[in-house]
Symmetry: C2
Subunit: 276 residues, 2 copies
């Protein structure tokens, strides 16, 4: 893979054992200029303090993860979810990133209505899109692997994510393409092209697919090169779609978290640079 | 769900704690007339002995699971796989079922070429289809959930399964539709209709989707009604596609296997009859 190394961005979750100042200094040592942040550790360190740390360290915040969870039926829960997503937009703006990643949410308890859940996401996006645009933030709907459809994200394919996004202006709602979630889908390449043509390809994330999956299937994302994902083909596909933005590596992996964060960060950058 | 209870079939794996004679007698007590069998326990009991037991018990063998694993690159491994699948066809014929379920196989070690693996399945089907037809057996390609794409089955959607099947005569290669694998896919209803129109809907299996998934994700299929699958909608969809065959319940579930098999069988039949 001949991705310019300056496009590399490390998603904070990959090395969550590093506190934000450690992450910033490790990035400085390795020449990494982009980071994807998560709301919880940012809140813990302080929003304004994080924004200042990023600026002072010369780091670009490539995405903020995450908003979403917009599938509730209960009206009070929906109000709370929208409020929380407006706060996430505000946080993204303060951190200086134009991209808020949304994980849409799973089926509400007791519901089996996937279609209804997807429609409620669209309703929420119609409220959140303009709010975000006014603040210079775009909403990146991330399709999650179908194994998360029940409990985390009813948007399972890039097709579904684009069907949702295309109901809204192209500068309000787009998609986040993550190889971990989409690698298996033979329709993904055509849908990446569709996202590119429509100006909806807001974010691109990498993780490898390794088996066996751990219990709960959340924290088994493989280090680049360890698994089934053909990153060379993905790079061609995303490049052909006109994407020139950051390439963020986001691994949820218990084994990586058990190791030293700086070592894992250096390894991740090496793997990124060596992908064929 | 208003499925005629006489269409109920119990897949042997659901109650694998029951030896074949126990399964046959339990089915007799509960008025169950259909069973789906697996090759390994059949071989253990004896192929001819199983066929006789089924006949003597008035049981119809609705499917034999399973052939497949046709993605190897190594020529010797391919020859062995084809030989094994011919034996599976022979066994199906002796057991008196017209449907052999195929789990296509995952990526060979070190390979990341999903397309190539799917093409090798097609090559194998071109050899196996005529062999099976001569013996009165049809090959039912079963798409497995995308979480199995790397290590078990590169055919992940009903679309892909039908794309494969439609390269061959409609009385040679079709599909097995299992709610566990397809429930999340909004394209599945249209593809079930496509399967019906084309005469490719060979088998229909039920399992529910429950979370959290266990490690390895193989043995967490939920008892009917415990999870996210809308069986009423699936029944409408499969019925609209013209399917009038057996409805087989196939659960891989450690908790169910730890209980008494007769109790689980009775519970499964009750659940089947009570699905709204």
């Amino acid at each position: 893979m001949t991705v310019d190394a300056t496009r590399f961005s490390i998603n904070q979750m990959t090395v969550k054992q590093l506190a934000l100042p450690e992450l910033a200094s490790a990035c400085g040592e390795l020449g990494i200029t982009g980071v994807g942040l998560w709301r919880e550790p940012v809140a813990e360190y302080g929003l304004e303090a994080t924004a200042k740390l990023m600026r002072d360290s010369g780091l670009t915040v490539t995405t903020l993860c995450r908003g979403g969870f917009l599938t509730a039926i209960d009206p009070h829960a929906r109000v709370r979810a929208l409020d929380d997503n407006r706060r996430a937009v505000d946080e993204a703006a303060i951190l200086g990133t134009d991209t808020l990643v949304l994980v849409s949410g799973g089926l509400p308890p007791g519901s089996r209505d996937l279609h209804g859940a997807r429609e409620r996401i669209a309703e929420a996006l119609s409220e959140l899109g303009p709010y975000a645009r006014e603040r210079g933030v775009r909403l990146a709907v991330e399709p999650l692997h179908p194994m998360f459809a029940a409990d985390r994200c009813v948007v399972s394919t890039l097709t579904q994510a684009l069907d949702l996004a295309e109901r809204f202006p192209a500068d309000e709602v787009g998609v986040c393409v993550d190889t971990y979630h989409l690698w298996w889908d033979d329709r993904a390449p055509a849908e990446v092209a569709r996202a590119g043509v429509g100006g909806r390809l807001y974010a691109y994330q990498l993780a490898d697919w390794t088996t066996p999956l751990p219990a709960g299937v959340l924290n088994g994302r493989g280090q680049l090169g360890d698994g089934a994902v053909d990153f060379g083909q993905w790079h061609e596909c995303v490049t052909a779609a006109g994407y020139t933005g950051p390439v963020e590596v986001e691994l949820f992996n218990e084994e990586l978290w058990a190791r030293g964060g700086r070592e894992v960060l250096a390894e991740t950058l090496r793997r990124f640079n060596s992908l064929a």
